[in-house]
Structures are given as structure tokens and as C-alpha cells.
Symmetry: C2
Subunit: 220 residues, 2 copies
Amino acid sequence: MTSADRRARERQELHDKILDAARELFATHGYEAVTLRKIAEAIEYTPAAIYGHFQDKDDLIRTLCKRDFDVFSAQLSTLQTVADPVERVRLLGHGYVRFALEHPQHYRLMFMTPNDLEHDEDALQRRGDPHRDGYAFLRLSVQEAIERGRMRELYRDADLAAQTFWAGVHGVASLQITHASDNWVEWRDIAARTRAMIDGLLDGMTTPAPVGRGKKAVQP
Amino acid sequence: MTSADRRARERQELHDKILDAARELFATHGYEAVTLRKIAEAIEYTPAAIYGHFQDKDDLIRTLCKRDFDVFSAQLSTLQTVADPVERVRLLGHGYVRFALEHPQHYRLMFMTPNDLEHDEDALQRRGDPHRDGYAFLRLSVQEAIERGRMRELYRDADLAAQTFWAGVHGVASLQITHASDNWVEWRDIAARTRAMIDGLLDGMTTPAPVGRGKKAVQP
DNA sequence: TTATCGACTGAACGTTGTTTAGTTCAAGGG
DNA sequence: CCCTTGAACTAAACAACGTTCAGTCGATAA
């Protein structure tokens, strides 16, 4: 079986090599710069060789993004140790924006471009698992906040509140990604904007934490 | 001068004809469906003829979007008649999301794609004019809210508050555009999400209106 | 030794945006 | 009236793209 093993290993190595070459091009120059011919040149193969490992170009890049996003989900899920659900959501928001800005090309592809995640088998498998599905984790935290009586009346629908919060941080991140260098607007510091969004939304949606328990209250 | 006039008019007619054909393709099938050859076929010209009217494909589509966005700005600026600045911002947000969802392709190109507005001459010209620059109008309304003591301490920077509010409605609109048909998430109704974002943010950023003056208070 | 089979290549196909050399034709000056 | 000019437009090509497919090659299995 050693020879078959070697074949499989070599195949996997080329698979990764393709992904690495694509990541290099993608992360530095964006989606449009990723060309099968450029990847092929980088790995010293023919463009057609890539089709032995990926169905098409889209499959390649989505595989790349999914792989990198797994790191993101795992990273976010470490926040499960934060006891106060509202504080947890706050940190979730900051971590989310940080990741988006550190991987703008990945973020753009995953959240600023239409994609058919519903037809992705191994993506559907992790759906709902708070460790591997960021939305599920957020939703769960909001649910906990509701149960502890921390959400205002209008936001006691966990999905609605989670979706609103997500939209908020997504708005900050995506505007920064597409319009950061646009001086039409006198942009405030991205950190300030992130904080303004997260604190503003949480102030609007939640009630202050009871004193003497959990983190300090938010209200001035 | 009549012959020169006619030439100029005919030129303008073809110019518009190109834009109309492009709009048809663009609005219904998105950016990628807009092909110079398809446009050329629709207007019964050769692809190269288009280059007599536009610098390149990007110039064509951006011209198209700018033209359609002028209608939007004018439409928004009718809200200047609303006396209460906070209520005005609220209506601005709803109008913004409505336009984005009615013209998703335009919106995608203008706000979800990097673009060099700074190097656009006639775009720079209308910058700051509340009638023709939506951001300026928003910013001005926020400024007025600050002056009337309606903004909480953290949001008394008109730019920061305006940018946060913009990011909020942009987040709602862009998530809807790219992920509406994605059933990874149990999406709440878009109207509910829009309202949750706008009310949530305004509740977090503003103080209630004084009773007996302006619109009714927001706090439950 | 020979057959098999997966991996890979070389060359093509059909698109795309864009350029360029040429054609056409009305306008304007001598 | 002719002839030049100049703009508008065409025909054809170019380079680059994703993708396909008939083959080749070399190691494995019989």
C-alpha cells in the first residue's frame, strides 16, 4: 500500500500547492488577479492540471475561502468563555470586524458576493454548530441575553436581533473594505466607527446589566 | 449651424441608446451579463462603435449608475421638509434601503465594489451639496440633531454618527442583496430587519424628543 | 512482458475587452 | 463643382480568459 499512499500524498501536496499559489495571488491582488494560467505558472504545471483537483475556478477559490474561514470560526468560538452574553456579543463584533479587515479579499468573496452556500455539503454539515458556525454562536448568545432579560422588548426575537447586529458589523466592515481610500467622506478612524456601531446597537437593543454582577453597566 | 446641431443630437441619441441597452442588460442580469458585443447587437452597431462614446466598459457602466443615482439623491433630498432631524434621519434610512433593494445591481456597483469616485470630476462637483450628495444631507441632519441636544454624548461627532448610521443601513441592504436567497440563516422579514436596525441605532445614539414638540418620543 | 489507469500535457474552442487600419460619407473651402 | 478634411463607424485582429479533450507518459498490477 505504500505506493498508493505515496500517490495520495503527492496528490494532496499538489492540491495544497495549488491552494497556496491561489491564496498568494488572491490575498494580494484580489479575485480578478487569480488566473488559472498564473496559478499554473507558479506551480510549474499546465492550467489543465488544476482541473484534476478542482471542478472549476470558482470551486478552487471557494475551497480556499472556506478553509481560511474555519480558522475564523474557531477563533470566534473561543469567546464562549465570556460569561456575560452581551459582553460576548460585543467581543464577537470586534473580532468579526478585525477578521474582515485582515482578510478583505476573503471577506469580499464570502459576504459581499452572491454564493450558493445552501448547496455546499460540508458547509451545511457545520450549520448550527456554535463552534463552527459564527451565526449560530451569535444567535445563541443573543438567545441567552434574552433569557437573562437583557434585551429590550423589540429585540426579544433572537434571529432578528442577531441579524441586525450582524448587519451592523457587516456594514462597518464592508464600507471600510470598499470605500476606505475614498475621500468623498471624511472617514473617522475605523476603530471608532466599529465601536460606535457596536456600542450604539447594543445600547439600543439591550438593557444595562444588573450592578454587582457580570461586567460593568454600559449606560453613562 | 443646423447640420452641426443635428450631428450633435444624433451623437447624443446614440449615447443614450447605448446607456439604455446597457441598463436593460445590467439591471436584469447584473454586471457580468453586460457585454460590449451584446450591447452592440442590441443597438445594431459594432462593439468598437461604443468606444466613440465611452472610454471603456467600466466608464459606460459607471456613467449609467451615476445617472440613475442622481434620481435617488434628488428623491432623498425631498425629506428636507421633515422638521425633526432625528425623524428625518429615520426616513432617510428607510428611503436608502428601499432604493438599494429596488436597484440592487446599481447599488452593488456603487457601494459594494471599489471605485475611484475621487477622480471623478462631475461627481466631486456635487460633493457637499445636500441636494445632490446623500451623505452630506445625512451629515447635516445629524449635525442639526446634535445642535438640538438630541444626540448622546458619544455620538456628538456628526461624521462619526453619520458614518455609523450609513454603515448600519448599508449592512442591512447589502446583506439582503447578497444573501437574501441563502437559507443558511432563517432570515426575518427585510422590513423588520430594516426597522430593527434604524430604530436600534437611533435608540442607542439619540435621546428622546422633548414631549409636546416635534414627533412622539421613541422610548417605550 | 504487457495491459491498465491516473496524471498530466498540448492544443484547441469560444468568450471576453480592446486596438487599429481602413472605409464611408457628409460638410466646408477653394 | 471638386476636393479635402474629419468624424463616425466597421472589419478584423489581438491578447487573455476559463474550459475541454484527444493524446502521452510512467508507474502499477496481472
